[in-house]
Symmetry: D2
């Protein structure tokens, strides 16, 4: 961490500040006196140095991190890829391509089982489906709740597909015990209390990027989970909020190679929520695979116009079959090339 | 709600869709056949019509709301200003100016009592202070928690100032029973489960705008609380996330008159979090009052460089005294003018 | 165009407004009276109806376009892809993949010829290079200007590669007569006077998307050129400005399939400016090809650390050779699949 | 400027880089060796050091400016406020409040003279009006052009109000010789060729902030004009593009005190374009004055629903009279207070 002091700072103030830094943190302080200003450099483990605290000092002109503020999620301290193993067949982050597919909301046993069977045949290796739904309006359908979880388990039994579903409050963690991957939605990415509690479990967590979260904030939220002892975190890019309104969100395709560089965690992409339009799912999914994503999460509905939520962005099982074929062919072509 | 159908839609499809709309919602459907396309207009109470559901229909080209999707928060159905009464002296939204002041984090009894006394003398009518702190880093100070709440109550006893503090999880609602205003932070604005539970209480809620929430989404979150039966909602504009990095956030000053037009709820401004810089607190607070805000929430710390959080944006009690004088003088000048 | 009138509008006002619309534009007006409000529908050619004018009427509650405001750039009126033919070997938009490669700035004959030869061997079919440089600072290198154009022509003669370079003012159009593709930079995307003058030429124009331009505004700028009679427009997505600061801009990968749907014009991608980081060029270029781009424009410098501009995002000829191989292999795999 | 080198950098590379920096720029280089990395500090005049060039070096981890990249616009080198004197009565930046009022577009002699007289009576000290109009659509009204300039001069003769109007191309500078303030629109803020040419004149320039320009980029555009020798620059905040669509743009009210701190140039606010809604003009103008703006530019039209452009955001002369009264009363109250 590099700290630029204001020109007017006295030697006594510098000494006092330096002493305090050494006392508060496990760091050494190097000092460099320029003509206009003095610069301090913190050596050692600075990931827990509070940059806001430093910045608030009267004598500080500005501060710059050299090290990233996250440690457990940082590739520098963990060079190998993390592989999140779901079962004997599904390991996310191992170089293969995994597709999580299913409806936005679980609606009935018939619906979820039918979709699960269809996407399984087409190559999906996990089943997604919402039981508890975060909706902007209190008057919109809020999900089948615990009944939805039960239906997902039935579909799992029928198809063998592990299930992925979203949690919305801390007190539900016990209820999600038998879920294979617990999803934290974009709106809860900085629900720190929820992250802390999930950190105490060993469950694989699918952590969606917040609507306007920076990549660093997203990794800091992963760090919350990992700091509690749970390393099974899968990141999910699902589009960010920008000024462009043609798409529901703007898919930040750059996030994939950036996460791969900064972190060892697997990263997947949600082209359905990123775009909000079913006809954009295929090209965005193709781009995600070409950019190096470990997987995809795609909304598939047997009857999108009658979906209880997010129908506009869902594709049918037939469309999914065609998209999945192209995605696996692309993945294979990319692997042959390297 | 105006629904534009695709040119290829058949009369049978239109009839079927119309019948379904009338069956599902309490609306009538008017139809208008143009040369290129047919337009349907929904008459009646459309606030609970799911626009995503409509948009997902194969035959729908596009949809446009005419009515707002919020009802209880809507000024059209409640023309008079809502006044949130905290105690005999403090009523927010009644035309007077209220300032909530205090430290970002409660740190000690001495600190909070000293600040409370100082800001009270300068004209603040409520005491703010964080006991549970949402921090981006798991390694940063997370607040004194329940001890912080106790210290706030001591400061309230010493000064008579009602207290405002942030809640971070549903299971803490009982613990906040004796708090005067419960704050929902920006990161929890769409923690719908928390909003629902707060809707079951009668507590005044200070609902901060999310980092990238639209005004409509913010009002929809207020609607979540109000739909549960709790009308005591105070909105708080605290800056939005934009591409500009000079300030921590970009204060959306337009939000004040817009909220006043769209809703009957009181709206206050947080110039400290909006800017992240103490020297911007005064001009932004002045702008907020001139734009019609019902109040302000300002971070005041007796020793900002040693604050445990957010010191860079805190002002000292002396600075607060000067700012408050100017704000009340401005408010008086504006009232004399009208 | 659908116009919702305010509830209080009188029949006389509606009649007067309807008459005026029919007189001013080549449209018919359909009217539909609901219980709460009246809706007018404009039938006919509405692309030149001024939506701001409509919106300003006292009696108008809101307006919604059904047709797009661009016509010549619109795929609805021109279903076949536009192919911009540069010479006998290079046709952009014909289904093949074209890569424009070269340095940000032309620096010397040796530099530009050397790079041109190298990228040509690796498969680039056009040479890019800046002679006039738009720089944020007046103190930064502004390009070799007309000398730079001469050097580009030398490189073209040596390699046969057509040249692409940026124009910055209307009065330079004559000077650019012998350039193969004239580039309009992001900062000039709404320099309407420049667009109008370029519309009077027959030159192929590479129109970069503005830093915060919507897709519709971008197509409207293409429309400016086309309205003047020049249909040779190639669109270039180069990243948009968002809150994320890790990358220089955020590549809007969705723009590629969206442009393909809305317009018949070819669209290419600039992964160098989009990211600002050389190590991101490969994954973003791969994603662009997978998403359907007609080409790429990539910064290549023989000695990036000594580049006079944008060195951080340039790759070396060796790196380019490796990237190009992967891109052409990917393109081939995608073609085989379909 | 602080440069952090990569851990792997050799002493020879550091020496070579240091020598090059000293040779290329008028700086000294201080060096500080930490355990993990070496930091270089550039001492001297770094405003013309190309940060992109530095950042492109293989051995550079990251760079941080300590000094701002603008010099002539920088308050540090010019502590007194710049006052732009238009005539004997109008000096912008001298502590008084100036209002520029008038229609978006000049439409006829009758229109512009009538509005000019009205706003003059209400206290406006300058007349605004567009002759050349930048419009998103090539099919929209583009202004009366040189005829519009003539009409503005007639209105000036009738009322004595100096005139402000927008220039759109370099070749028009002679035509604007007799205009009092030349406006550079938001879309041309980085039309660097236009800025350079305006820098060669002595004309007062009203420089609007670009749609997505940072405050630093805006000041760099002012620097372009000033570097040419023209110090008569007035900055105009007119709203920035964000994700919020309720308003046309988001007024960045913080920009006013920030410009006042960073620069000595006067700054005014355009509440009409910032909001796009006439009913928001008053509260935003009030906020601007309270935040310290030197003036305002407000769209006034005698008949907004029949305005040829931007009618939705124009207010009538009667409304302007009421707003102006409140603004001057507010300004007076603020002056009395200090």
């Amino acid at each position: 961490m590099i700290i630029v002091l204001k020109p007017s700072t006295s030697p006594e103030q510098i000494q006092h500040f330096t002493d305090k830094l050494c006392a508060d943190y496990d760091v050494k302080v190097n000092r460099w006196d320029g003509i206009q200003s003095t610069v301090l450099g913190l050596i050692g483990d600075t990931h827990n140095v509070d940059i806001e605290y430093i910045d608030a000092q009267d004598i500080v002109e500005s501060v710059k991190r050299v090290q990233e503020p996250y440690k457990k999620a940082n590739r520098k301290f963990h060079p190998e890829n993390t592989v999140v193993k779901i079962n004997d067949k599904v390991s996310i982050g191992d170089g293969s391509l995994h597709i999580m597919a299913g409806p936005c909301s679980v609606e009935s046993e018939e619906q979820i089982v039918q979709i699960a069977k269809a996407v399984s045949v087409s190559g999906a290796t996990l089943l997604r489906g919402g039981a508890f739904k975060p909706r902007t309006s209190p008057y919109a359908f809020q999900g089948l709740k615990s009944e939805g979880l039960d239906l997902l388990k039935i579909a799992r039994k029928e198809t063998g597909l592990p299930i992925v579903t979203e949690i919305m409050r801390t007190s539900h963690i016990d209820m999600f015990e038998n879920v294979d991957i617990i999803q934290v939605g974009a709106r809860n990415m900085q629900n720190f209390d929820l992250l802390k509690e999930l950190g105490k479990t060993k469950k694989p967590i699918l952590l969606k990027r917040g609507l306007s979260a920076t990549i660093e904030e997203w990794l800091m939220s992963a760090e919350y989970i990992m700091a509690g002892g749970n390393d099974n975190v899968i990141l999910c890019e699902r589009g960010i909020r920008t000024y462009e309104t043609y798409t529901r969100n703007t898919l930040d395709i750059s996030a994939i190679p950036i996460i791969k560089k900064l972190s060892h965690l697997p990263v997947i992409v949600d082209p359905s929520h990123a775009s909000g339009k079913s006809w954009l799912v295929e090209p965005l999914a193709m781009a995600a695979v070409a950019a190096g994503a470990d997987g995809l999460i795609i909304e598939v509905h047997n009857d999108p116009p009658h979906a209880w939520s997010d129908g506009a962005q869902s594709i049918t099982p037939n469309q999914f079959d065609s998209v999945a074929k192209k995605l696996f062919a692309l993945k294979k072509a990319l692997q042959n090339e390297n």
